[in-house]
Amino acid sequence: MAKVSIRNEIRFILNGRDVVLSSVAPDATLLDWLRLDRSLRGTKEGCAEGDCGACTVLVGKLSADGLVYESVNACIRFLGSLDGTHVVTVEHLRGEPGQLHPVQQAMVDFHGSQCGFCTPGFVMSLYGLWMKSPDPSDAAIEKALQGNLCRCTGYEAIMRAAHAISSYGKAAKDPLAAEREMITARLEAMHDGARVEIGAGKARLVVPADVDDFAAMLDKEPGATIVAGSTDVGLWVTKHMRDISPVIFIGDLDGLCTISEDDGIISIGAGVTYTEAFSTLSKRIPALGPLFDRIGGEQVRNMGTIGGNIANGSPIGDTPPPFIALGARLTLRKGDKRRTIPLETFFIAYGRQDRQAGEFVEAVHVPVPAKDTKFAVYKITKRRDEDITAALGAFFLTLAKDGTVADVRIAYGGMAATPKRASAVEQALLGKPWTEDTVEAAMAEYARDFTPLTDMRASAEYRALAARNLLLRFFAETSGTSEPIQVSRYEAA
């Protein structure tokens, strides 16, 4: 392996200025740094866990598509993960001399603020949307605002403002658009391919040079905390005040952030965010599109990674059940050694996965379902969007020519200590004609597969009943009825 150069500072752009920091705590959050160190207090703390969006800022990073700005939650974004990015806060917004920015003026004129505390976060989310989509639909605005809570307005005024922004100015003339080349050049100059190492002892952070560098480091230091999107580890710090040093930031590593398709199998690098995976997955496996739209809010999807969703082993992660139903496989890597296992076998028990010390999740490989198969995934939550799963069912079905069930894989989240197959239900379906009678008989088998828990998201009784009913929903959807099967906010695109 080629020798990597080492740098002992992080470099990024904050609004208009270059920032170089050689002293950064591994658990320092962007929000605290903005408010306490920089006295930029337009960005607010509402929850410190990535759910309310009052702390929304934009982070611009260089990608295959050039410089891309995405909304993120500054409260759970670690400062050390910002190397080579452009951080944009509400203080950076400006319009014509002496004027507010179009996003801001629209919010003022349409009464989009009442108490005003959530407002800078809304402004930033709308700004991020407007740059990508100057004339968005209701659905697009709502999606962009899933991670922003407002308790005063009831959102109606904010929606009116969001629709009006382009009448106040052109996105193409926005300062961030005008300065695009200049910012790109400055960011490119910062990307020197070096490994970043800051601090020592109990306050140490590392940003590896690339995935090989990461593999070697983790092999040497298997106790390090791996941080990709920090949508989970962020809370270890803000809520549990855990010591996480040494930290290895892998959110933006070359070699870990690619998504590719080969021979009907989509390989997703562990550093790929939900947002980055969305366009490929929703196109190639359309049933995943609506699911991905309901994972976290926009900011969390811009930060959180599919690799993290799998690696943390949660029984309520949203990607493992559909991937298991699709027959996905997982590549784990330790140093230079790799092994690939069925995703299903990765989850051993609550809090325990098939991952050895020094090993990390490198990629997940998801087969695209064949044309004559049926695949669906259903997520049940208390609130439709930006909520954590109470129960989630994924169904993959192949029918034989005679209409009997040739192959079926059903996997659930929220129903057991791990993401889990409904084996007894599958057995009750295999070889039988795909009819409502068969389905009703199979529904009785759920009790053999699952003994769900009662918690704040749902009771055991509800989980059992709703999970069972999802099979009937799947049957109804695959049997070609024209009547509505699910409630939906918008007609399917």
């Binding site: 309310c52 203080e91 989009g112 108490c115 005003g116």
Partner: protein, 787 residues
């Protein structure tokens, strides 16, 4: 140089007077991040920060509290316990002495503050707080109230009884009777800005506390009480809150007291800002209720007699639970006349956080009980609930007969609910959509639609009579610009803007000549909390009174100086006509100043007419009522209980609105907040008394994507306050919140369709997808077993 354009001396109207649509005075600051909340203020050098140590059991004796590891942790300056409270260790707002600042000897709920770490940084203080070693002797804990006895189990304060006629006899004699109970969940305020205070010690016993509080005077008095100093030593100031909703009426006081005690002890500025999870765990919420009801009615659906018991989970202390329970009873009639009624409250003690004010203050809970009774009657007689509603309304104001007396013996003299409901039925296409939904449901196996139209009548005034007073302070400076201050607080509702509009109107000057300033106890003393929707009613009147005093002095001065009769001094937009000449307002002010006319005035207002005898349960409790109605349509998935709100239409009465743009924002926001309360916002305690929904990850307030797909909000353009309120406007803070009931009842209607509308769904709240599905299952089973 002066950035403001010179006032237009030819204008026909001032800009920004009353009854004009003005945007929020701070809107441009909100959007640019320059509006300063307390945590945004530059801290004085050496400011210290607080981390709280919270109880880990719901009820127990504190056997030992070992804070040695906390004290020696890095960055810790001091650790406060109850022993450090120089005055009384109590912040009870109702003088019950049951609300310790820091727990003393025992803890009574999971999350109760026991000690406060004072650190060089907030992080150091929070981290150190985890190092305490506390031994508890656990005691039996009462968590829920479903199984409690509303009469014999422990109560935190005296219950209320309302009685008119003879309910028991009327129910017994009625052709039909139904008796049942409902569960109604509470609600976290989820103001986006959590509780925060910054205390700066002064000379002698003085301290200034910048506090996110709805009640600066009360915060002042309680801080003084805990410090053991006179109120004059304490100044409390707040420019704005990042949301309040009742959650900062009394709940701000504990943090303010801790900051002030630490600041005085350590002689340094001290800031306390709760983490969201701590805030949700350790501060009070909307009360959850168990409502027992029995109703007697005839075959047409006329209600003949009702008996209610409203049991409320108060938590461990009284706080405002007494008046919250009272207001629930005051609204157990919603908009309906009960010929005979008995209503009792049961403010029950539990080992949970002490519940408190929340927009509506028990009123919405009272109404939900009324609407459940309407549903029961409707299903029993086989009619659309809307028919039963209309049958039982109070007499309209233009045709008052015998059906206009409330359970508390006040006459309803201003009822306009009939007209509002009729107009809304028409504009929302109720009858047509009722038919369309029936047809849809007949042909849809899994998805069922539901429709409901619910009314609201909300009583305006504090039932605590002394709270119905307000003060204001208005200065006119020699250049003609105006400084406006009053006792109300700004939490997003646009109160300062409305009051400024009133002052601009009195002086006939443009709105931008009136400066809005922070609420402070040093300018206006002894004020009521900004609550009970009273902000504009009370403070608008007080500010008007102050402005009128100054205007009178200017009038008298002008009349004398120009030798004209007083009635020839007329205030026109930005100018004054004195006899045959006009001079600018600014010039008149300047002349008055030179002539040594006093250009400052303190204004005052107290609400007339109201009185209330709690022991008798009788009085003229409310100055007037605000009305409105909402119509909602939902789609429900009968396999999972998931739903979407397809459409909502609201018609609401703000009298002659001071500012329609602001009022529509209140109605839209109130509806969504009420909808959240009754649908997805679920507070869930485990059997150890731990609140497990203590953060937005688990506690789900509505999102933009939970709005009704079609959302039409209108204000009545024909109503005006029956009483001489400020410019005949009506209060708007709380009355729109119960419009969320329309969604609960639309869900109920959709659920009922699975049993052909023959069985009352008795859908409890919050109607989460789980409760909806379980109600569907119950009805399906009842149909099956019935066959």
């Amino acid at each position: 140089m002066n950035k403001h354009a010179a006032p237009n001396l030819k204008a026909e109207k001032i800009t920004g007077g009353v009854a004009t649509d003005q945007r929020h005075d701070s809107a441009h600051k909100h959007v640019s991040g320059t509006a300063i909340y307390i945590d945004d203020m530059p801290e004085p050098a050496g400011t210290l920060h607080v981390g709280l140590g919270l109880s880990k059991v719901a009820h127990g004796i504190l056997r030992s509290v070992d804070l040695s590891a906390v004290r020696t942790a890095a960055g810790v300056v001091d650790v406060l316990t109850y022993a450090d409270v120089p005055g009384e260790n109590d912040v009870s707002p109702s003088n019950m002495h049951d609300d310790p600042v820091l727990a003393e000897g025992k803890v009574q709920f999971f999350g109760q503050p026991i000690f406060a770490v004072i650190g060089e940084t907030r992080e150091a203080a929070r981290r150190a707080a985890r190092l305490a070693r506390i031994e508890y002797e656990e005691l039996p804990a009462v968590i829920g109230i479903w199984d409690l006895d509303p009469v014999n189990d422990k109560q935190v304060t005296t219950p209320l009884v309302l009685r008119r006629g003879d309910a028991a006899t009327a129910i017994a004699a009625a052709p039909r009777r139904i008796k049942n109970r409902m569960w109604l969940g509470g609600q976290d305020h989820f103001y986006l800005e959590g509780q925060v205070s910054l205390a700066i010690p002064g000379e002698d016993d003085e301290v200034i506390v910048y506090c996110s509080t709805q009640g600066p005077s009360e915060t002042q008095h309680l801080v003084a009480h805990t410090l053991g100093v006179p109120s004059h030593a304490v100044t409390v100031e707040v420019r704005r809150m990042g949301g309040g909703f009742g959650g900062k009426e009394t709940q701000a006081n504990q943090c303010a007291a801790i900051a002030a005690i630490a600041a005085k002890k350590l002689k340094r500025a001290v800031k306390i800002r709760l983490d969201r999870d701590e805030d949700m765990t350790a501060t009070g919420k909307r009360h959850d209720f168990v409502i027992d009801y029995e109703v007697g009615f005839d075959d047409e659906g006329n209600i003949l007699g009702v008996d209610f018991t409203y049991a409320l989970r108060c938590g461990f202390s009284a706080d405002l639970s007494g008046p919250v329970g009272d207001r629930a009873l005051f609204h157990c009639d919603n908009a309906y006349f009960y010929p005979n009624v008995l209503a009792k409250s049961a403010p029950l003690y539990t080992n949970t956080v002490s519940n408190t004010a929340f927009r509506g203050f028990g009123g919405p809970q009272g109404m939900v009980g009324a609407e459940r009774v309407i549903d029961e009657v409707a299903f029993a007689v086989g009619k659309d609930p809307l028919e039963i509603r209309k049958l039982n309304f109070y007499d309209p104001m233009e045709a008052i007969g015998s059906r206009n007396v409330t359970p508390y013996h006040q006459k309803v003299e201003d009822c306009i609910i009939q007209r509002i409901v009729a107009e809304l039925e028409e504009s929302a296409g109720y009858a047509r959509r009722r038919r369309e939904i029936s047809a849809f449901n007949a042909n849809s196996r899994f998805i069922k639609r539901g429709l409901a139209l619910t009314p609201v009548k909300f009583g305006i005034s504090f039932t605590k009579t002394e709270s119905n007073q307000a003060g204001a302070l208005v200065h006119v400076y020699a250049d003609g610009s105006v400084h406006m201050n009053h006792g109300g607080t700004e939490m997003g509702q646009g109160l300062h803007l409305k009051v400024a509009q009133v002052v601009a109107e009195e002086f006939q000057i443009d709105l931008d000549r009136v400066k809005i300033t922070a609420t402070t106890t040093a300018k206006v003393p002894n004020t009521a909390p900004t609550a009970a929707s009273s902000g504009a009613d009370l403070n608008g009147m007080a500010a008007q009174n102050a402005a009128r005093q100054i205007r009178q002095r200017l009038t008298d001065f002008a009349a004398e100086k120009y030798q004209v009769p007083v009635d020839q001094v007329v205030f026109l937009p930005n100018r004054v006509r004195i006899g045959n000449q006009e001079i600018s307002f600014n010039d008149l002010v300047k002349q008055a100043y030179i002539a040594r006319v006093q250009l400052s005035a303190a204004g005052f207002y107290k609400t007339p007419k109201i009185h209330w005898d709690r022991s008798k349960g009788q009085g003229h409790a409310f100055y007037y009522y605000a009305y409105g109605a909402a119509c909602a349509e939902v789609s429900v998935d009968t396999l999972t209980g998931e739903y979407v709100v397809e459409r909502a239409d609201i018609l609401h009465d703000c009298g002659r609105s001071l500012n329609r743009a602001i009022d529509i924002g209140q109605v839209e926001g109130g509806f969504i907040q009420g909808m959240g309360w009754l649908t997805t916002e679920e507070l869930w305690w485990d059997d150890k008394g731990r609140l497990r929904t203590h953060a937005p990850s688990t506690y789900k307030i509505p999102l933009a994507s939970d709005r009704p797909k079609i959302f039409n909000v209108a204000l009545t353009d024909w109503s005006q306050a029956y009483e001489p309120t400020i410019h005949r406007s009506k209060a708007v803070g709380e009355p729109p919140l119960p419009h969320g009931m329309a969604v609960l009842h639309a869900l109920s209607d959709a659920v009922a369709s699975v049993a052909d509308h023959k069985i009352c769904p008795r859908l409890d709240a919050p109607a989460t997808p789980e409760r909806v599905l379980m109600a569907i299952e119950r009805l399906k089973n009842e149909v099956k077993t019935g066959e």
